[in-house]
């Protein structure tokens, strides 16, 4: 799966949880840039993405995840391990 395909699925997970698609996810996008992306919805998005890709994030990765770019990198490396 290339990065574009990953981004597409991640975008779908975001709009699924946030119930809107008024956002464009880029590497530098953070919670401040997307309506409704905050502590609780973040936990839901993370679990949605884990299901979509059949991966399990590590707490150490999650705690240093500050942007969509960090998220995509972590998914990429998890997919490589699998």
């Amino acid at each position: 799966m290339n990065r574009e395909e990953i981004l597409e699925k991640v975008t779908a997970a975001f709009s699924n949880i946030l119930e809107h698609n008024n956002f464009q996810l880029k590497d530098e996008t953070t919670a401040d840039d997307v309506d409704g992306w905050e502590s609780i919805t973040h936990m839901m998005i993370i679990s949605e993405i884990e299901k979509t890709f059949s991966i399990k994030f590590k707490l150490m990765d999650l705690m240093n995840m500050n942007s969509v770019g960090d998220l995509l990198n972590t998914i990429e490396s998890e997919l490589l391990i699998n």
Partner: protein
């Protein structure tokens, strides 16, 4: 006021120690002292001496914490408002307290209708930190917090300087809990939430450092990051935090934490044990106490091996702290026998003088009882409890969560307990009373999850409870609605059940 003199001493003795870490920036007690003195001078120069209830916009910065101390040593109360709360609601609060002055560290204040002290732009300092002479004004108000009221308008709870002193006395008398100036403490609460009083007051008295949660961060992971990277030693939290961290417990093993206090909601045995495994060197305290009784009234010292007392899976709330009296009563405010469930009432020096300008509510929530020739004033908590043979108090549920189904009294927490026991998925499950178009209460079960087969759960419940206690409606909700303080919003949850 002894506690204010002790805060002064602590600030002066710990000048080189850190007091706050906000967004990875550290501030020392010396920095803190300087900010308090600046704000104090502004208060002395600007605020009319007869004005006691001063508004405080609760930004996450050193000025806001310094403002609380500056107001206190001048004998004034803070009336906190959250900058993220609708302005209308905050105006309503200031109107009800007749507040004229607002301390606001924001670059541009939205409180232009009031006299605003911009606490972040002050230069000149007051000469000292000595608290003013309190003789005769010990019962002046130290803070007023507003909690959501049943009628929709917020209820004000004033807490006096004497109330705060009594809280400090009680915690000082507790040999199991002692902070020192090496401690690094989590301060995760918004300052309009009463739990915040203990998470800033006790660190300040001990010269410890507080670590706050900046806005815009993912709270759950940020807390873990702080514990891990800053090696926090003292945690004070609501149970919902660990519910969210639960999927990651196998990765958590934090040896630095020595105290973890819970409050503001029921703590369940199963998750408490798992969390305790994550913190091998930690003492866990299950605190109990309403805003009306100055944060804490007592605790149960949970220990996964030796102290696991629970009722319907909810950890005991233990015994009252120093100078506090617990009384379990029936509908006529008469004490019930040991082992019998009733409403828990609290008496002692931490009791609020009463809801702010709300005589009607006060008549319902407080009563006076003669004990050994003394009149003791009690606050009715609305929490149902029982006292066991050993003198420990056990939490049973909210009195307003006790519902009548076809005439039978039903405890919603009991239904939740049985449903959770059998659920393979460790998710939040809440039982609710929902009214059908005949005006009768029916039971609903809300499950925080994607849909799954509940046959087993229901078979189990039917095996444990009379049929009238088994819920008739089930809804799967991906994410439960929460109040601003992180508690599950049951009222909002009921809206998912359209049973008519």
């Amino acid at each position: 006021m002894k506690f204010l003199k002790n805060i002064q001493k602590s600030i002066e003795n710990n000048a080189e120690h850190n007091v706050l870490c906000i967004g990875n920036i550290y501030y020392t007690y010396n920095d803190f002292e300087n900010e308090i003195k600046k704000i104090r001078l502004a208060i002395v120069n600007i605020v009319d001496s007869s004005e006691k209830l001063i508004g405080l916009v609760t930004n996450d910065d050193i000025y806001t914490y310094a403002s609380i101390i500056a107001l206190w040593i001048e004998g004034k109360a803070y009336v906190p408002v959250n900058p993220d709360t609708p302005l209308d609601r905050n105006h309503h609060i200031f109107e009800s307290t007749k507040t004229k002055y607002v301390i606001d560290s924001s670059k541009e204040s939205v409180y232009s209708n009031y006299e605003v002290i911009n606490s972040s732009g002050l230069q000149k300092q007051h000469s000292n930190l000595s608290p003013k002479d309190f003789s005769g004004s010990e019962n002046d108000i130290a803070y007023i917090l507003f909690t959501s009221g049943t009628t929709g308008t917020p209820k004000g709870v004033p807490i006096t300087f004497n109330n705060v002193q009594a809280l400090v006395n009680a915690i000082d008398a507790e040999p199991e809990f002692n902070l020192n100036n090496k401690d690094r403490c989590l301060q995760m609460f918004e300052l309009t939430f009463d739990f915040s009083v203990v998470t800033y007051l006790f660190p300040l008295l001990a010269g410890s450092c507080m670590y706050t949660i900046p806005k815009g961060t993912i709270k759950y992971f940020y807390i873990f990051k702080l514990i891990k990277e800053k090696a926090l030693t003292v945690l004070t939290m609501v149970p919902s935090i660990i519910n969210y961290l639960r999927p990651y417990f196998p990765e958590i093993n934090e040896t630095s934490v020595r105290y973890c206090s819970f409050g503001g909601g029921a703590l369940y045995s199963d998750i408490a044990k798992e969390w305790s495994d994550c913190l091998p060197n930690c003492k866990i305290f299950n605190y109990y106490g309403p805003t009306e009784f100055t944060v804490y009234s007592g605790f149960y010292p949970y220990n996964k091996d030796t102290h696991t007392k629970a009722h319907n899976g909810i950890i005991a709330i233990g015994t009252p702290q120093k100078d506090t009296l617990y009384l379990v009563v029936n509908e006529n405010n008469e004490e019930v026998a040991i082992g019998e469930t009733g409403e828990l009432c609290l008496g002692g020096p931490q009791i609020t003088p009463g809801y702010w300008k709300n005589e009607e509510r006060n008549k319902l929530s407080f009563f006076v009882r003669a004990e050994n020739g003394k009149n003791i004033r009690y606050y009715k908590t609305g929490d149902l409890c029982l006292k066991d043979e050993e003198g420990d108090f056990l939490y049973v549920g909210r009195s307003d969560f006790q519902v009548k189904i076809r005439g039978y009294r039903v405890e919603l927490s009991e239904i939740e307990f049985h449903a959770k026991t059998k659920s393979k998925k460790k998710v939040n499950i809440v039982a609710l009373d929902i009214y059908n178009n005949l005006g009768n209460a029916e039971l609903g079960l809300a499950i925080e999850s994607e849909a799954f087969d509940t046959k087993e759960i229901f078979e189990y419940m039917k095996s444990k409870m009379p049929s009238y206690m088994v819920p008739m409606h089930v809804r799967f909700i991906k994410e439960f609605p929460h109040s601003i303080n992180g508690k599950i919003d049951r009222k909002e949850l009921k809206k998912y059940f359209n049973i008519n």
